[in-house]
């Protein structure tokens, strides 16, 4: 049987309440009924009995400390909101923009350098 913590990628140190909050978000965003049912079943496995949750947590594979990892929600928040009516005037932010900490002032709005082909002089 697969370990729910590994399957869902959630932190084994979470309390029942924290797990419930995280898994609720996952269930609400599940792409299909099967996916939602899978999350429901994992939630039941992890929350019915305290000793079961501890056992699964103990057996979960080590993962980077939470401080080093960035949550998906935090990453999403880093994506700037694009005003829709202006979206055709503005460049689409790149992954790098996001990972570098989002837009920095006006730099964000300046168009990305265009590639004009190989430098023919070389």
């Amino acid at each position: 049987m697969s370990n729910p913590f590994d399957e869902l990628g959630v932190d084994p140190r979470m309390s029942v309440k924290e797990l419930t909050e995280v898994m609720k978000r996952m269930a609400e965003r599940a792409a299909s009924d099967e996916e939602r049912e899978r999350i429901q079943s994992f939630w039941r496995m992890l929350t019915l009995r305290e000793r079961d949750r501890l056992r699964w947590a103990f057996l979960a594979h080590p993962r980077p400390p939470a401080a080093e990892a960035t949550s998906v929600d935090a990453l999403r928040e880093a994506v700037p909101t694009v005003p829709v009516r202006a979206k055709f005037d503005a460049p689409v932010p790149t992954v790098r923009d996001c990972l570098d900490g989002g837009h920095q002032g006006d730099n964000f709005l300046s168009p990305a350098p265009r590639w004009d082909g190989w430098d023919q002089t070389d």
Binding site: V16, K17, T20, E21, M23, K24, M26, A27, E28, R29, A30, A31, R36, E37, I39, Q40, S41, W43, R44, T47, L48, R49, E50, R51, D73, R76, E77, T81, V82, P83, V84, R85, K87
Partner: protein, 858 residues
Amino acid sequence: MILKRAVGIDLGTTNSALAVMSPGGHKLVLFEDSFKRKTFPSVVGWHPEEGHFVSGWEAWNRRALDPKPVMSIKRRMGTQRAVEIGPNELKPDEVSGQILSALQAAAEPALKAELGIDELEMTDAVITVPAYFDAPQIEATKRAGEMAGLNVLSLVQEPTAAAMYHAWNRSIGDGTFLVYDLGGGTFDVSIIRSVTGEYQVLGIDGDNFLGGDDFDRRLAEHFRQHLVEQGYALDLDLNDSDDAVRFYLLTNLARETKEALSSADVHYVARRDMFEDQDGNLVTLEMDLSRETFEGLIQDLVDQTIECCKAAISHANEAADITMADIDYVLLVGGSTRVPLVRNAVQDQLCSGQTGAGEPIGDAPDTAVALGAAIQAANRGGLTWSEEDASLTVTTSLYTNDDSLTILGKYTGVEDVESIVLLDDTGEIASLSRPQAGDDSMRFELDGIEVSTRGDHAFDLELCDEEGDPLFSVTLPVRRGRDDEYRPTGSALSNPSVLAKDIYLQVTADGRADRQLLVPRGSGLPCSDTFRFRTADSSGAVILRLFQNRFPIRTIHLAIPEDTELGTPVDLNLKVDETMTIVADGEVAGQRFWAQIEAPPPAEERDWASIEKLLQDVEEVQRALWGYEARRFRQDTDLLVAGIRETARTDPDKLQALVIRLEDIVDEFRNRETALTPAWSRFEVLLDAIKRIVFRGDGGRQLGLSTAEWRDRLGSIEEVGRTAYADHNQEVWSQTFNQVQAIWESLAQDEFRFSSNTNPGEQVARMEGRLRELIDELRSEIGGFARSLNPETRVLQDKEIASIEAELAAKIEDVLDGMDLDEMPPNHAKPALDRLFENASLLRRRLERLPNIGVVSK
């Protein structure tokens, strides 16, 4: 544009109710008719002049007219026993379909007016079912909804719905609930836990044939006996239609009296010229009835409900380590919880320190289930706007008590959406480009929407094309409540339904019928599993017979070639979905099959002669058993036999159900095909128990025999038993079974009394523990003893019970409490405890003689 909101419907035995969650998610609206009545009688009749069905109050008002309307049809759900309604013959699901259809038709205009929305469609529904319903009863309920033209999104168990309502109403986010749901015809108890507003069901128990109607029948029978004493000819046979009407009228009077006694200590019952007795004399009933007398009549029924509560807690303990002390809230649901005896029993046995619960919560007992179903309906269905070929559904609640809100939704339409914008009166507050497109719909999420002030907010949601022009636009009725106005509703994560009873498949083992557990009770729904069996003969057919507990729910018969090899794999997949629909599919010999659960074919009704024969069989089996086996058999059958004798006069439907239950128990102890008593399965249970002790490898010589000697001895006993069973030789079979039982009982005694590998102090401690268990067992047997309905016998039994209870306290419990076992040397303590065991044994023998007290012997 049409707004669509799913409704919650409580389809009850006596009354039904319907409710809906307001679009803003902050208000539950219950359907009330023009007279402000909140419930809708679950009654269907026929209007002979106008030639159509009537339901609800209209049918209720026809109960004194011909043709008589049909009531309490829920008791027959899952069977194919048709009822006559005027010139029509309808099956139970069709009658329920009529009730649902009429209720929905009556409620829709009233709720539209109440919510102030003209274009509101309420054809999606969540319907409630008793938690303890069997699969065919659940299927029938779902079919009834479909027959009424409803799109049944889900079925939710009644206690769960009630817990959802009370948690919503009282802003309870975390806690464990015991829901005591005593309706008109069914009793359910569920243990439900809420973790930050997400629900999980931990344990269920109940009785599908126990409810307020039983209280009415007990009282009606009391009236009948009183009238017979007055000289009226009322030896009623309910199979006779005139007698059935007489008893029905007495039951109506009983119901009124029961309701009056909920608030008064004494009620003067007076009804002149109620009907004619069997001699044609007009019957008049006049008597004073005290609440105490009424409570005496129903005490054992209430005790049964408390036992069910303990069983549910025990199931919750198996599933989630829940104990009595973990229960935080006790909820009273169902009209019958208004009976003061019920409330007092719950208060005394569950809310007086045994659990963590304070006073039982019992507001809205008639409507809590429908209101909870409306919460689940809003949760499952969301809020949908539709027009022509496009629709938008917001799947999350638009209510928050926080300063921010997340909106999740999906859009289905022919045109491509390039962006989504949320606007308030100040302009754009959130937007999303390139929403996530699925196969047939587009999902979106707007997170962190600021709702800065309390009260109602109207946000416009626009789905735009690539030019930024709106393709689809709706106004979202968002509401922010007070900080303490937390409204838990559950979400897509909640597991609001579990399987109430085990699902088995009949298999053969060594040519004998046996059962294999497929899905255990308490499994969260949906669930599924795959199994592999093998063909066991060359009959040219594979028969998969599915049971829920002992109740057959579906037989799948597959013809396969006769030359199919023995041992050919039979693959079976079993899936129970969220609406509790059970679907089995699989493959055998290259042939695929699929089957859904359906009501079993109408069972032949047992007449009184066959019931008498069954009762004789019970006595025969009882005589063939002794010791623990006899006690277990009696424990299982005593209440049923008493119930059968009672309902023969008062409740034909319940009578049939009890007879089937009793037949199952007799079959368990005596094989019907071979007519041998006890059944092989009991032999196997005992042998297994013996093997567990003697082969556990702790080096002990149980009863002086080594492991090798035990192996030989058990092997030869099993062989003799097998041969006797195969030859249908009752005499040898009885001898062998008795031998096995004697070995087991001796071993069991040794286990706790003279175990060689423990020190004397431990032996004393174990003896004390066992003795205390024995005291509890005796108390429970005394409490569960079904007293005779005959008043004279009952007096004798009451007297004997009082004497047994007194001796149990004085000669065993007080003595045990007075012994300082820690200080007492073991060689003194053990004989003293032995004497107490002997006293307990004597009391048990007196208890065993209770049913036959006063009966002469040969």
